[in-house]
Symmetry: C2
Subunit: 454 residues, 2 copies
């Protein structure tokens, strides 16, 4: 059967088969299995394997495919594998890699190895890479490939068709050829689908798309991703300040940016780096997670020092101590809902000067309404539980204050952090929880001290 039907379980099954074969020491069998697999599938299996399995698999992989496989791996795993490779092997792997991926890998190497790798490359590769390295990471330039096919405007289509037949294979994900003038400035683009269907006697100028949008080389990769998403592009030309064509960006690289950006928000909110390796080694992982826990320890000690201010109240009323975690907890959850919404909005580029004030007002209103609702419910719950109407009223009041603050803080903290050029996805959650914990404890313990202590 020529067509491979993709079964839901295929990858997990393959992984099971490989793990079993490795466990039984059937290395030759594993090597044969790996030879039949696509680079992207091998990369996926490496990503999904514990460190020891990875080591063995990596030894068994055909040296020729190293480059392609590295291309497809996540950053943390890629870095750790490259560190074990000899400079010669890296240089060899480099031959079969895209320029943008190669530049990425070189950037992460120590200087001494970096130079050795460059030395071992052919001159052509070296020039290509040095150019790619000149663009900052996370910009359109770093996503760009230079494999563009360009046309002149005044040539007839039948000439183009003959030229393409002589030229041979087109680069991957080519949906458009770019039309440039003598100075390499972009005039427009010709869809390759149109080359197949148009009148061969027409000129390039007649069939070209002239309102083509081009990407400035310094645009951030997240913005590039938003444009691809919004306009359903497969590829787009990249230009410099003089409108000169530098290269093109293709959807496959953009998909990685979209995935990374979305993961960045999610992992960041939990205090994790988005290129954290799921199956990375224990000690390294422990170390990488410590920073966030350190910050949280200070936040928790800050909250405890708020409670400490009300030691007298806590000494007299154990019930207050029992109930005091409820108000910070509800405020934290409500604030986090708002925070997630605003961080996503920022990541999608939806939130700007024109609407941020409206958004803060809306979240403040939701916080207040939620506060009203939950203050009544928690008043009822505590009254029923502890049989003390004053205590119920106190906790209800504190709840209203904290939920309102949570709405305001959840919306304004990420916007303020963004203005200060601090990543809201990373810092937002911790700052917010500290605010809702401190305000929640202050409100409840403060009200209790005022009304219960005479």
């Amino acid at each position: 059967m020529p067509i491979e039907v993709l079964d839901n379980e295929t990858t997990d099954q393959r992984l099971n088969q490989l793990t079993q074969a490795l466990g039984n020491g059937m290395f030759v069998h594993v090597r044969n299995m790996l030879q039949d697999m696509a680079a992207s599938d091998i990369a996926f299996i490496l990503e999904s394997s514990p460190p020891r399995t990875r080591q063995v698999l990596w030894q068994l992989i055909d040296q020729e495919h190293t480059g392609e496989i590295l291309d497809e791996l996540g950053e943390e795993l890629k870095d750790s594998l490259i560190k074990q490779m000899s400079p010669e092997r890296v240089a060899k792997a480099a031959e079969s890699m895209d320029t943008d991926d190669l530049a990425y890998i070189l950037r992460s190497l120590p200087d001494s190895i970096f130079n050795q790798v460059l030395q071992s490359m052919s001159k052509q590769d070296r020039v290509r890479v040095e150019q790619a390295l000149s663009y900052p990471d996370d910009t359109a330039g770093s996503l760009m490939n230079t494999d563009t096919v360009t046309l002149r405007p005044d040539v007839n289509i039948d000439v183009i068709l003959r030229y393409l037949r002589i030229r041979g294979e087109l680069p991957d994900a080519t949906d458009m050829l770019y039309v440039v003038d003598k100075k390499d400035c972009v005039l427009g683009g010709v869809r390759i689908a149109d080359l197949l269907t148009c009148d061969p006697n027409a000129s390039v100028r007649e069939i070209m798309v002239s309102d083509l949008e081009a990407i400035p080389v310094g645009m951030s990769d997240s913005e590039v991703a938003q444009l691809f998403e919004r306009h359903d592009w497969v590829s787009a030309p990249v230009i410099d300040a003089d409108n000169k064509l530098l290269g093109r960006i293709t959807i496959d690289d953009v998909v990685d940016v979209i995935r990374e950006d979305a993961e960045h928000s999610m992992m960041g909110m939990a205090g994790m780096d988005d290129d954290t390796d799921t199956f990375g080694p224990v000690l390294k992982s422990t170390f990488r997670r410590s920073l966030w826990l350190t910050v949280n320890l200070f936040a928790a000690l800050l909250a405890a020092s708020v409670s400490n201010m009300f030691e007298g109240t806590l000494e007299q009323f154990a019930t207050i101590a029992i109930l005091m975690t409820i108000v910070p907890s509800m405020g934290g959850v409500a604030g986090n809902q708002t925070l997630a919404l605003v961080i996503r909005g920022i990541a999608l580029g939806q939130i700007g000067q024109s609407n941020s004030r409206w958004l803060i007002g809306k979240e403040l209103a939701i916080g207040f309404l939620n506060g009203l609702l939950w203050s009544v419910l928690v008043f009822g719950a505590v009254w029923a539980w502890k049989g003390d109407i004053a205590l119920g009223a106190l906790i209800g009041g504190a709840m209203l204050i904290n939920m309102t603050v949570a709405g305001l803080a959840g919306a304004s903290i990420p916007l303020m952090l963004k203005k200060m050029n601090i990543d809201p996805a990373l810092a937002g959650g911790m700052v917010l929880t500290t605010v809702t914990d401190v305000i929640g404890l202050f409100a409840f313990l403060g009200l209790a001290t005022i009304f219960l202590m005479h």
Copy 2:
């Protein structure tokens, strides 16, 4: 200048201009601005506007473009706009929409309007839509378009080229034409780039890609997205159980799935629905967030009832009350780090039978190591603050217990939820926090009761 260079600030500027023009009542000017914009840009601006602005903009939009714009909108906003439209207008909008998007919209309509819309459609559209509606939401079938161009294997390329020229324009994002036999079974595919560069005297069979991977119509959309991502596809054929070609899926629809899946994890962990509208109305938003807060109230009351069990200890030692929030807080953060990692791994399809036990073991080890580290630090901090070495030892011991449990729970809870077919992104965070709160309070207050109360 024929090429539009995309400036970083373009969209926010446009939004500002539109908002100002609306504020000044310059409706004709706004209408003209909207007419010059692409549907995807208008959709973006609608998404980024508060409800009142949206209403006015929606009135000013050219009726002819309604369908295209609806195509590009997020689910919550799309639903609310469609509810206000007359069935005739929906039917008219339907004409310019892709089948998959149209099916989505119809699915969300109330039955009475649904039938009215179907009645107002042309027969051809109706057949097309009824077929699309027969595939369940969130499967390959629901992402599929039926606009495939098929070839027979034994025809020469020059015949194909002539046929395409007569046929005219190819569907968007066509990078491959599918080769089928008489029964419509897929034999392979011909890249349109290859049509341009190959020998015109070759036959389709000679230049076709015969190890083409095809997607079964029932595959989940997340799996489809993973395949596109891994294999850098622009489009892929969809087949039924008999290998018969049903249609194709294109990267633009897959990008939406990738974005939605990634957002689902992030928003879900904060207790929000991933199609929540950032600029949605206040009351609706308040209501939609209540469910999560209700669940959290029960979790917080559960934690309070744990503290309640140790009322005697809390009555005697106010310091215990002051410090009792630290242990649950650290456990919650550590557990959440693990949870985020595992939820992402599940979403990427990296975690299966073969490696989940290893992963749980790894996270348990990290939890224990982190527990050791933080128990020492918090022991020191509390000893220094309160001058009580026994108290420091108590909180250190509780910390070690809770961090270890947090590692175990953070890894095993999402895997268990997944086995029970409960969405780990949505339920995982709440279950985890409840576990770390309860265990943290139990450990600290329990140890304090044993060692301080005689």
